[in-house]
Symmetry: C2
Subunit: 115 residues, 2 copies
DNA sequence: CAAATACATTACCCAATGGTAAAGTGTTCG
DNA sequence: CGAACACTTTACCATTGGGTAATGTATTTG
């Protein structure tokens, strides 16, 4: 069986999948149709497959509402997989870290939520 | 042509490639043979191909020394590709960020260097 | 200079991936 | 209840990716 971190990195390898994550990060919660609307050159089942990949990696989760699925980020999975790995490169990160720190110190933004 | 960030994420998708990066992060500078020694179940040309992938993504670079190539990390590429992307998830990162921040505040370790 | 060393490149193979179209499942609406 | 809706699953296809073996190219050494 594949290591969990491996699944996360593989999931992040595809630009469409990263865009799905970005959309969920921006807008909080989206249905499959709402997501699909953002990918004009992809058919519905394609989106679905990507969502399954992200779900397998634990990066997103969904709850049913009627006949739609409400997808949302599962940010702990992302953090848990990436942070320890990124930490190994900490000696090389001073500049980028500074940027992240100043972001953090300016006060964490609200977690976005769909209306 | 593929976007640079895409190349970086694709390069990171393979566990062997990530391990190469880890080794370079730990030990600073390594020849291809030294790297190959860490991958008993990979043949030399396999390592070479991975190194070319990492080089194409700008994540590593090499300098010749006689007939060997001294590979080292190119950490700015990693930071430049990942930091802006990670920043988008900053609202979700408080816990992981705290860990990184405390690491940073405990004083950045020396950048490792090969003898 | 010839042989050996240290890699890189090429040619090739198989498995995995991303994509589509079509069929399947559960839910709601008329 | 039947039709439409919102997805998911399956079947299938073309391309890519990771792997090896073989060949090529500098560089060093005997």
């Amino acid at each position: 069986m594949p290591e969990h971190r491996d699944e996360v990195f593989r999931a992040l390898a595809d630009p469409n999948r990263r865009r799905i994550l970005d959309l969920l990060a921006e807008r909080g919660t989206l249905t499959v149709s709402q997501l699909a609307a953002e990918f004009p050159d992809l058919v519905a089942s394609g989106i679905s497959k990507h969502l399954m990949g992200l779900r397998a990696a634990g990066l997103v989760a969904a709850t049913r509402r009627g006949r739609q699925q409400l997808y949302h980020l599962e940010p702990e999975a992302l953090a848990d997989a990436l942070a320890p790995w990124l930490a190994k490169y900490e000696p090389y990160w001073s500049a980028a870290l500074e940027r992240l720190r100043s972001l953090a110190e300016s006060g964490p933004p609200e977690r976005p939520q769909a209306p």
